[in-house]
């Protein structure tokens, strides 16, 4: 990858001075150019001016709701956004993800975790040259051939299972909300029918996970959705 060559620009929108200061130290150490904004209005202005490569957005802002900031931003920009939120606010996180956030982190979080998430988010933003074959761990998915192999052995998936897996592969490393998955795979009328998703996730895990009771590839994000791990 070529992140080191051209310096990535990150915009941090958070009202807490201390958090901004800490993020600036860690992100600059990791090679990012960091811009800061203390509220939503300022954040939107900075985003327009600095054209960041990635945005870190706190959901609890003094002037406007983080989800509103996200919606405004998405009106003209597809910049990857990682939201920060506190525990117990799953609804906010889901709302942010459904409105185009790329990932989320629950406070308190570790710097290493943040950097990893930022990298994944940035990678997704880049138009990938047709990723024909996706590989992670024992799993291998040949998208053009619609072929799934585990440990080199072909695995037979039903149409729905394959559609589900394909969705995860296309968004590998990114968290997908229940609603997003249901809408993509089953259709817009199924967004509340989580039981379909639960059942198919179980089936899919049984077919592709080494140990279905301790999934390493398709992990559950409590109260939010699922994520296909990339490593």
């Amino acid at each position: 990858m070529n992140e080191e060559k051209s310096q990535s620009v990150v915009l941090v929108i958070d009202d807490e001075v201390q958090i901004r200061r800490l993020l600036k130290i860690s992100l600059e150490a990791a090679g990012y150019k960091v811009y800061e904004a203390a509220n939503g209005q300022e954040g939107l202005a900075e985003a327009a001016q600095r054209r960041p490569d990635v945005v870190v957005l706190d959901l609890g802002l003094p002037d406007m709701d983080g989800v509103t900031v996200l919606k405004r931003l998405r009106e003209w920009s597809q910049v990857p956004v990682v939201v920060l939120s506190v525990r117990d606010r799953e609804d906010d996180k889901v709302a942010a993800l459904d409105n185009g956030a790329d990932d989320y982190l629950t406070k308190p979080f570790g710097t290493a975790e943040l950097l990893a998430r930022l990298r994944v988010a940035q990678r997704h933003a880049k138009p990938t040259a047709d990723m024909a074959v996706f590989k992670v761990g024992q799993l291998e998915v040949d998208l053009p051939a619609r072929l799934v192999k585990v440990n080199g052995q072909p695995v037979k998936l039903t149409a729905t299972e394959y559609a589900l897996l394909q969705l995860f592969v296309r968004h590998a490393g990114k968290v997908l909300t229940h609603r997003q998955i249901l809408k993509e795979v089953w259709g817009p009328t199924y967004t509340e029918q989580t039981h379909y998703l639960r059942v198919y996730m179980t089936h899919l895990r049984e077919k592709i996970e080494a140990n279905p009771s301790e999934p390493e590839l398709l992990v559950t994000e409590s109260g939010i959705g699922y994520r296909l791990m990339v490593k």
């Binding site: 117990d88 799953e90 729905t160 989580t194 039981h195 059942v199 089936h203 009771s213 409590s222």
Partner: protein, 863 residues
Amino acid sequence: MAAGVGKTYAMLEAARKQQSLGVDVVIGYVETHGRKDTDALTQGLPTIPRKLSEHRGVKLSEMDVDAVLARKPKLALVDELAHTNAPGSRHPKRYQDILELLDAGIDVYTTLNVQHVESRAHTVEEITGSTMHETIPDSVLDLAEIELIDISPDDLMRRLDEGKVYMPDRAAVAMVNFFREGNLTALREMALRLAAERVGQDVRDYMQVMQIQGPWKTGHRLLVAVSASPLSGQMIRWTRRLADSLDAQWTAVHVESSKAMSPVDEERLTKNLALARELGAEVIATADEDIVRGLLRVARQQNATQIVVGKPAYNGIRQFFAGGWFMRRLVAESGDIDIHVVRADKTDTPRERPMFHIPERVAWKQYLIAFGAVVAVTLLNWFIEYQFPSLGYRMLALNYLLAVVLLALFVGRGPMLMSATVSALFWDYFFVPPAFTLWISQVDDAMMFGMYFVVAVVMGQLIARFRSQEKAERRREERTTALYLLTRELADAVTMDQIVKVIVGHIGKLFEADVAVILAEADGRLALQPYAGSTLKLTEKELSVASWVFRHNQRAGQFTDNLPLSDAMHLPLSTATGILGVVGVRLPQTNPPNLEQNNLLEAFVRQAALVIDRQRLHDAAQQTQLAAESERLSKTLLDSISHELRTPIAAITSAASALGDKTLTAQPGFSDSLLNEIKEAVARLNRLVGNLLDITRVESGHVKPKMDWCDAGDLVNVTVKSLRKELTGHKVETVIAPQIPLVRMDFVLMEQALTNLLLNAAFHTAAGTAIQVSARADKDELALTVADNGPGIPPESLPKIFDKFYRAPGALTGGTGLGLSIVKGFVEAQGGRVAAENRPGGGAKFTLYLPVTEQPVFSGETT
């Protein structure tokens, strides 16, 4: 004295005089009838605008009571005391409006013609021949100071001619009917007499106050017997007049017997008693089969010195005997009590008592049965005479007698009398020789016939009376039982919800009514809606009636004098200490409730008030106790939280300062171990803050589970995985039963609950021991279990282990006692339950149960 004498003029003059003395005077309602000089007098007196309403297309204006109350003058002028208000007004009569003003401390000047005084109305009717509809109770006059406006009848007639009375076009009609010189003279005399009596009374009061010896009678107490008779009304008025002139207290008594009353009589009785109450009597109803005995009993209890009864009308043999008997006994048994026997005129509304009063609806059926029985006995007797001719015809009379006595057990008095007569005639006709004639040849047969008749009638009467007594007894018993049941159930009710439910249920059942209970709030105002469980829905209007009741501590609404156009009757829930609320009752009937119903309702409400009062006091006591408990809890909280917060902060502080020391950080591995310490302390702090937030949510009832179909196996795996670091010292065994259905739960809450259980287990057991986590499903419950091999829970702590801040004695230091109470709160919020037990082989076991009530519905492809 009469219309047109210049009352309004005099009132206005007096008011102007008061105004000039600096008194705050307003006009509440004055009718000048367009007379110029009267109009002129109203100038300069502030007038409260009238309240306009429309009734059946006619525009009506009345005094705006609320506006006057709000203005709160010292003195209000309200014309025509006896006026009847427009339908829909707060009170039916204006004098009731005035009483409300007086209650609010506002003095009132008003005007009144003598013919409108209740106790004189009848006399006026007799003299003038015109009926008085608008009357005021004498008790209102008792509150007033009277100034007589007197002019001679000649002057009045002249004023009438000059058009100073009424409006000119109406004067002619009015004059023909009323303004005759004879009438006016009589009215004048009455007015003078009334005023004189009042003055006399004032003088007597004065003499009494100043302890002047004088020849006045004291200690008189009158008692008037009231029945359903239309004549009772006159007796009541007569007694009131006598009581006035004797300056005596008086009581109206109704003796209730077991005899069934027709609805008309019942209504008239209620009216009579209401009249007595209005005229200032104390009304007592008592039950006794013997009217004389009942009357005298009350008279003695009340220390009555004089009893007023009506003169019996001797216009029938039966009444002659009955009335005479009644009088003789009353006189004989009354001892030192004086008896007034008052002549009452017959009125146009005769008592509805037909010759053959049919007491029950199915009377004709009873007659038929009685006749059939007699015929049957006759046939039987024929048979007996044919088979056993030696028995003789006299024996057969006994068969008839037996039949009549038996009949008395089943039929009323009328059919019984008929059967006695018919059987006597049949016996005579068919069996007494010469047969088939009514002729009786032998003297002893004639005697037998007579005696038979008397015995049959007396027996029948006795049994009939016995039965009716029994019926009355049963009615009284039902009443007592109803009250007893209410009392008993109220005694069992321990919460306000239950109490209200019992009240609503009982009143509702007994009166077939819709009932609403509205209680006073803590701030002393009446609640804005009925208490939960009320069956009567209250509109805005009804609520305003209820709040009127609450303010005045008087019943109001339907069937009462206050706001009678309401849909329901509202009774105050009051005790000696004050008013607690209002009970609204919508009775199914269209007639006012009778005396018995009223008494029972009153008794119910009184009982309810007592119990509600008791409950209020009880709640207040409990509040105090709760406050003490919560104080203790917050102290525990502060103690444990401050310890839990300070420990990790201390660790971070010391580690951070050590990291700043260059000489120390030079040692290999030193920085790493300190960083680990900091991370651990931070994790602990984070958990504590999480727990505090969670318990706050549980406590404030803000746990709103987002129920969704979830996979229990996934839940367990996710939880265990996220705690990998915390559980490193322990061996975690996960057992997930196969074929667990999807269960509706809040995944995040359940993960938190399981996390707390796992951390708890890890905290309280030695490193290296095993912790088992399992999920299984019974037929209707999902069970998630966390079991450890630690020391277990002391048995005495088991019942309290899920309580907030509870920590088992001897538990390790650290921990706030919050974790398990959060578990309980979260699981119960999802409709589940928690259980704690000790394992047989040692160790503690916690299980979370969630209901498995339904299965998700799938359509289309499933595999």
